[in-house]
Amino acid sequence: MTPEAQIRLVGDDLDERSLALRRLVVRGLDGGKRGHLGSAFSLIEALRVLYDDILKFDPKNPRWADRDPCILSKGHGCLALYAILADKGFFPAEELDRFCRFDGMLGGHPERAKVPGVEASTGALGHGLSIGLGQALAMRLQKRDSRVFVLMGDGEINEGSVWEAAMSAGKHRLSNLVAMVDYNKLQSYDRTSVVQDLEPLTDKWRAFGFAVHEVDGHDVDQLRHVLSSVPFESDKPSAIICHTVKGRGIAEAEGNPAWHHKSKISDDEVAAMYAELD
C-alpha cells in the first residue's frame, strides 16, 4: 500500500466492537474533559486485535512471566490503551470517569506503577522501543517464548533515540520484538510530510534490520493476519507500518490536527460523539 492510498479507507464501517471501544475512550474524555482523541482513535483496531487475538496476558496477574508485553510508546494515545485494558478486566471501567482527575488512577500519560497492564510509563516520546528491546533481550536470555510489542506514533519516531533502539534490535536479530508504527500522517502541528517527512518509511525500518509489513491499521482482518505471522523472518525483528486515520470514527476529528488533543470538552460534544459512535 502506498502512503497516498491509505488516507481514506472508506467502505469499511467500524463494527460494534470497534465502536464500543471508542465509546470507552469517549467515557474517559468525558471524565477528564480532555484527552488526545485523535491519537487514541487511530490506535483502536491495532490494540483491539493485539488484545483480542495475539497477546498472552492475564488481567488478574498483569506481570505474569509468560505474558507478551505490549508497550504503548506513544503514551499520549493512552485512552485507547485504557479502553482495551478496562474491556479486558485489568481495572473497572469506572476508572475512566476519573481520567486525569486529582486522585484518579488514569493520567494523561500511562504509568506502570499505577495502572495494571501498563508495561512502561511513557509520554516522553522515543523511550518505548529501547525498553521493549531490553525486555526482548531479557526474554531471550531467560529462554521465555514471549514476544514484545511496541506501539509508536509517527511523530514520535522523529526522535533519534528510536533509531538507536532500532539499530540495536537489528544487531541483536531480535525476532521476539515487534515495532508497530501508528502512521496516521498527522503530528501535532501538521502533516508528517510537512513537519518531518518520514518517507521512505518502510525502507528505513528495513535498512535498520527489520522485516517490514504494511497494513491498513483499521482493517481488523488484515491486522489479525499480519500480527499472526510475526516474526516475519526468523532472525529479524519485525516492524508493522499501520496506515491509519487520526481521529478515525468521528467525522470532524478525522484527519484534523485540531483534534490531536482537546481540552474543555463540553457535554454537547460528548453527546455528539456518543451519537456518532452508536
Partner: protein
Amino acid sequence: MRKTSLDTVYEMARRDPRVVFVGSDLGAGTLDAFKEEMPERFFMEGVTEQNIIGMAAGLAMEGFIPYVNTIATFITRRCFEQVAVDLCLHNLPVRLIGNGGGLVYAPLGPTHLAVEDIAIMRSLPNMTVVAPVDKEEMARFVPQTLDMPGPVYIRLAKGGDPIVSREENGFEIGKAIEMRAPGDILLVSTGVMTNRALDAAAALETAGGLKCGVLHMHTIKPLDETALLGFAGQVRGIVTLEEHTLVGGLGSAVNDLLGDKLGRDAPPVLRLGIPDRFPDKYGTQDDLLGYYGLQPDAIANSVREFASRHLG
C-alpha cells in the same frame, strides 16, 4: 577505581545470573574475561547512550540487574530524560557507572567534564548517588549495590588515586565516614576530594594548631543527615569540598540541610568547589583542581581564612 568497579561487576556476574553488563563504545579490551565467559550477558551497544538506558530499564523490568558503564557526562547530560523516566520513575535496579567524574578529562575540555553530574543525579527521586574515594572503598561498596531496589549512580575518579580509606571503617551506603575526628572545623568532602581534605587538615594542624575533622560523604544522596547534624552541633564551622560545580552539589545539599533543620543555629559554612562557569583551561585534573583552589595548600588557606573570620 574504574578497573576495580568493573572487576567487581565481573565477579558478581560470575556468582549471580541476574547481573548483566551494558557498555556503549568503551576501550578495547574492557571486561574481556566477562565477554568470554558470559557473552550472553555482555552488551556493547555502541554510541547509543539514550538507548542503552532504556534497554537497561527493560532488562531490569524482567529481573536482571544491569551495570551500565560509559563516560559520566554522557550518562548524566545526554540521557537525563531516560534516567529520570525509564530508571527513576520506574524505580528500577540499574547501576550507572560514570567514567571520569569531575575534572578527570581535563585535557578533553568542557564537553567531557562531568562537573554537574551530582547535581543532575541528586535532583531525581529514587536515585542514589555515590562517589568513593579510592579503589579499596570502591571494592567494599559495589557488592552492596547488588540487591538495592532502585537506580544508583556511581561516580568514578581517575584511577591510581591514593588509598586513604580504611577497612576498619567499613562501608555502608548512606552512612558518612568520619576520617578524622572533628575539631574546630569540620571538612565535609566527597569522592577523591576526601584525600585532599585529609592532607589539608593535617597541614593546618601541623602549621598552626587549627584542628579540622574530615567527614567523608561518599553517598551524596541519600545524605547522611544524622551524621551532619550531629557534627554541626560540635564544630564552629563547616567547609564543604567537592570536585563539582557549586550549583547543586554536596555543598548545596549540606547548606540545604543545615538551613532547613538548624536555621540560625547552623554553624557558618564555606563551600569550596568549581565556580558557575565552563572550565576554560586544559592540562591535567590536578592542574584544574589547582586552578580552582581545590588542592590541599589552597584548601588549607581557604579554611584558615574562614576560621579567622568566624573563630575570632
